[in-house]
Symmetry: D4
Subunit: 244 residues, 8 copies
């Protein structure tokens, strides 16, 4: 029951066209509806800065195309974890497409607000970093990438210092021992999201070693997302950065 329908009802009551008892019955069922509406509106409201997202894993190319096609949006739709065939099909069908590995933005990207720096410890961490970076970009932030800055080669990390200083939020991606966030956290006080990856073998247990390391980071102010969850880190970082 929206405002207009409620007003009409009340006017009808005032005009004596509808008895107040009937109006009461009509309003009695409203709360449930209102509740749902409220929450939906809320939902929509919160999305003002967020694009529509299609999770591509496990979807056929046809399903991905249908999902993207079904979204009428003035801004880029984000597709994550798309198979190569789906990526190719999106490239073919749409004019304005940005691709980073299996992450695809279809449509015009929003004006960037603030800056997210995405650091990756090793080349194998690149796919997760790319997912984080394009996600942050599609969610409205500017993005800068710094690759291959593992802790066993500190000079590359220290050379990247200016980029760290420019950022409003850092996304730090690392597998194996997951030490990079601790080191970066000792250099800057910028909000940082650490992303453990499943890169490694043996006692890395699919990324568990990196995850635990990041949760125990001695530098304060580091938060962590799920293993390989570049998407979640990108969403979070964009929300922080675009507040600037």
């Amino acid at each position: 029951m929206d405002r207009d329908r409620a007003r009409a009802l009340l006017d009808a009551v005032a005009a004596g066209e509808v008895p107040s008892a009937d109006a009461l019955d009509a309003l009695a069922v409203a709360p449930y509806q209102d509740l749902a509406d409220t929450l939906v509106d809320t939902h929509r409201a919160l999305r003002t800065g967020d694009p529509e997202v299609v999770y591509g894993a496990g979807k056929t190319t046809e399903q991905v195309l249908a999902a993207v096609g079904g979204l009428q949006s003035e801004r880029a739709v984000l597709v994550t974890r798309a198979a190569p065939e789906a990526v190719a099909a999106l490239r073919e069908q749409y004019a304005e497409v940005v691709v980073e590995g299996g992450t695809v933005a279809v449509g015009p990207l929003p004006e960037p607000r603030g800056c997210v720096a995405v650091l990756a410890a090793g080349t194998s961490d690149g796919a997760v970093a790319a997912e984080a970076a394009l996600t942050a970009r599609a969610f409205g932030a500017g993005v800068e990438r710094v690759d291959d800055v593992g802790v066993a080669g500190l000079h590359r990390l220290i050379a990247a210092r200016p980029a760290l200083d420019r950022a409003d939020c850092l996304v730090v991606v690392a597998g194996m021992e997951g030490a990079l966030p601790s080191v970066v956290g000792g250099l800057v006080g910028t909000p940082m999201v650490a992303v453990p990856t499943s890169v490694g073998y043996g006692a890395s247990f699919g990324g568990l070693a990196a995850l635990l390391a990041m949760l125990n980071a001695c530098a304060p102010g580091i938060t962590v997302v799920n293993i390989d969850n570049g998407f979640g880190a990108g969403v979070f970082a964009a929300r922080v950065a675009r507040r600037r």
Copy 2:
């Protein structure tokens, strides 16, 4: 905004005492309030069969007494995991008290509907079984207990067959290897809640062995609660039994 206030408002609109625009404003803020009320009512509604509960763990005797005293109820209030001192204080202060280990019902127990049978595999599982039994009773079910029916002594279990047949819901409590639910599940088709206990040592890992065993029970139709969670099992079983 409850029904009476809404009716009065509508009558005032119909009588021309309140402009419909003002009424609209009054109703516009209602949804939030309604939502909270709805949920609270819901909550209250669902409690028609459930008593008030005070979780005694970590509370001082004074806190337990205050919590019980603060609840004005016509039916028994349930106190779980109370320390011996708190139990003694409740016994002293209240006339109508039922005690099973650290579980206490203060006040008149409701008329029992349906029947819950609580089985315990070993004597060490008794405290958890007692919590389940008195909880089920306070939540409105009749309760029958069958103790010391471990799988290594099947004859005691088979002798308890009639009690199993009488029950509307079974609560089966076992530590160590947690095998009792599987065996009972092969004998009867009654809904059964399995409760793993932390009884054991070494590779029982604080009840993990029993928990995993129960989750993997080969007999169908067995559900499981947290380790040592007699309370949760009792609540569930009472809700099933009292539907009869």
Copy 3:
């Protein structure tokens, strides 16, 4: 040794046709036999409400057809986790077939008693929810499904409130963080079985995260089954619901 054979033996003793010593020997071997019979009878008895079940996983189409064909039943036989080929073969061979994903009911479904509501948090949880729903139906309960009611979109859940209120038992299916049962458990006091699914990645550890969350649900009266065990939840829920 059934009742008729025992009566005949006793009559023969009474008639002096069989010496009591011989009768004693005949009865002496009976207990073992009786024991087995008792247990078998018991078993059969408990199945009055339960259909025959064929577990399809790892079986060839021929094996599934043979297993179903070997069961002479007046009511629907349930086949779970059947491969697509086996499903197709069953459809072709039998006239009265109900299919939900890999779950198949072959033959006339029983008159529904009571109502089970099956909720699924996400679309990926659909297969497990379908297994639970058709299982509950084949085990004699009426079933209502509510899909896609994840906790991150509360309005859909609250809109489903009437269905929750109608049910005698809830089956709540969720992967990832497994939070849905906690939220639903705060809304209604209906007996609830929570089913964790293996939907997720990284630190979901194949459904372990959802399983642990459900075991630790703060709302009382929630029980849990094994990861992806829609069948077990359906059996349990039907047994509860059809008691109404």
Copy 4:
């Protein structure tokens, strides 16, 4: 080697007072020193918004007092996980003291910039929430607390909606099944840090259940810190909020 000393050296070279070879030797050892200086400066720089912190766990009252006394600061020093005796001693010795459980701020708190909302699911989560809240305050943010908003009582959560909308960053604290962040994440798009607590028993495994649930939250944009790490969450949230 700072700028002034380098300038003097170069002037001496230009004046012929120092041979260029000697100057070269002096500069040759500089990089190491520079590196250390650079990093120290960096470090100091990043601390402009952060107070000094004394980790109280495992320290005697004397050690805590000595540590606090040794820090000459114009703004509040933060003490975390202090024992009750240490808290009492700090209260006695200093005039301007704010205490939240075992967390203490000694000295004038900074002007608040931005707003952090700290939500706690249950009363047992209060100590961790208090640590997060006072930490965020001492790190320069304004703080608002919302207690006892567990997922099994949604109405309290929804009533707290305005506070959620006001915040620049949320800290959501929950033990047991750790479901609260998922639900809140469906309501608002504010950056959120989830803090699992060790509240629970049995299969909560010391907070592991809540930790895994939060890492697998289906709502995007949620990040997680270590179990019971209210301090880390507070630091992070303040850094986000005070950027406004």
Copy 5:
């Protein structure tokens, strides 16, 4: 219903004193009773070689004394995991007492049949080895102990070779890396029970490391019991040894 009562009943039928219908009714209820009797008899039968056992852990001295006093046995009663006070009380009250740490045999030990050799890797494993040894002795086997034969000192192990050759069954007790069973298993083909102990720290995880090592022993024919379960190993070994 035992043989004598059944015979009397049949004689009465043959004599026409009891109608066969009444006899049938009497026999109809027999199977349940028979089942219980059968299992009890069975149980008793299997105990011909096994003593009564009182599990002392968690029992007060009074409870232990009462439990032992309540068992009227011509052979030694075994008490395991008794507290020092209980041990002292047993020593005082009974004349014929054998004590090994917290394991006590009260009464005359049986004639030894066969030989169990109990090996312990380190001195810290001694308590578990003692429990195994006295248990095996009380369960009817002869016992020989070989202490301090860790794998890092092979010469002591090889010097013990004759004892290994004499044994009918070996019990091999080890904590830390649990390597001793593998080494012994390469020397002899005697049936061997390996007992992991909780001796160790850090990544021993309470005996898990030793347990896993023993389960993965490359020498064939090694079986394993629970961590610190000297009692179970002693029971098993005695049953094997006394078959000689």
Copy 6:
């Protein structure tokens, strides 16, 4: 240096043909050699009852044939975990072949001594049970199999009672919740080896649930081998049984 060579050397010394100094040198190098010989002899000695074994997993058919062909034995060679092609090739090449799944005995089986009973809980546990059974047979014991005696159908187990009573050692194979050993252990006092299998899904964690359950069995005298390790259980059981 074997006994004959040593005697010849000593005779030569006695005859004055070899100076005692030279003899000393010859003997001085002996210990190392002796040690190796001793251990080898030992090894060989212990194998008097044990056949040669070829572990087929990961071997090509050619490698399996070569391994079997290279062993010159008067008694059956055992091949475990052979691929179907290797089994077929062995059948073709050798006249006297016994096959149980992937386990093959090539050559004349020894005279059986004693009796091993191999019980399997479910049909899916059959492959592991077969490996245990043929292994025990090839290692010199008689073997009796009892299949499909899961704890959810006790009557089948109790009907198998006579087989249990006949056995010198039991091998009890079960997956899922692994409860069968506990139940059997309550019926008989025969030495028992429990074999957990990887049959199950979800929270069975590849057999971990069954393994833990068996290690925690409440019936005393049960020992356990690695998950799916039918071979190890068969070796152990044969060594016990053939001692009769």
Copy 7:
């Protein structure tokens, strides 16, 4: 800014060609550059004994060839975990190639300094041992291999005693129960690196059992690397051995 450029600058200052203010500006930006250079130099310096390494896992043959071709080195380049095709391509393209399984050294191996002995417990551990051995060789040490010296056949191990005595560092490779390092550690006092392998099944949990065993080895002075990490062990052992 290297030494030569700095000297030229200072000379220019001394000659009055460059004002000291300009020189200061030039030097002011140097520290960052210097820092990077320092670290790079350091890096290069430490590599005087270490070859270039190409990690072959997940790389195509073309990528491996390109990576090797891009390294201009006077000494052997090491390629690890190369696929068979890549190995074949390297063999074809280069004249001086040493291959051990998937590990390849391309180019002239350095003069060996010191001696590393690589022991492997079983034939299945051979691949990891080969990786360790060729790595140690390429990193500058001499290498001796001792295969198939499992703890269940001590005589082979003791026969290898001389090789152990010759070594400057041991690499001990074992899967399953991982007991070999403990036994070897009791024989010699040489520095030892233990390498757990993923050889095993069931409760080996992908090498976890061996890893834990080695970490808990009772013989002092044993260190451990990641599961299957022959490369890391080889690097470490070479660095120890070549110090002789």
Copy 8:
């Protein structure tokens, strides 16, 4: 049977005083004895560089004093994990005592050969670092300590560079996320032993996080010991360093 006794025996044979058959019998029992002797000698031999060690944990002061007193050594005896009372008693009784926390060296320390550098990440890691340092010293190496060089403060680590360059072997001690070894491993090529500590809380799981991180370190040539095992690291490092 040592060389002299063997020579006498052979002389007696040569002299005809002992028949060669009797000599053969005497020699026949020798190998066992020889084996033990060989291994003991071996053992003794390897200890030339290693001191006697008394493990103090769980020992009373009297036991520690007795153990130390029973060792007649010309060089320092090492006592680890001694309680404060035992440390005080040792200080009182002996003149030449070096104490580092609970680690004590009693008697003259050996001439240092080579250099071990012990780094600790945080002050809480100091006790483990001290154990490693004094152990390495007592085992014959020179030792240099570098404290408080956590990865979140790189400048302190880089300032310690010269100490790293001087060392023959590094011991790097860290708890929480255990990142320090990775960073140090990128700076120098010295053999390094990483020691995880149990410092941390929550998801550090008693040092598991640090242990896993170190096993997965991306810098090659790092080996790891058990959690808190400073002793093992010290033994290993001394054995490496004193080879110089």
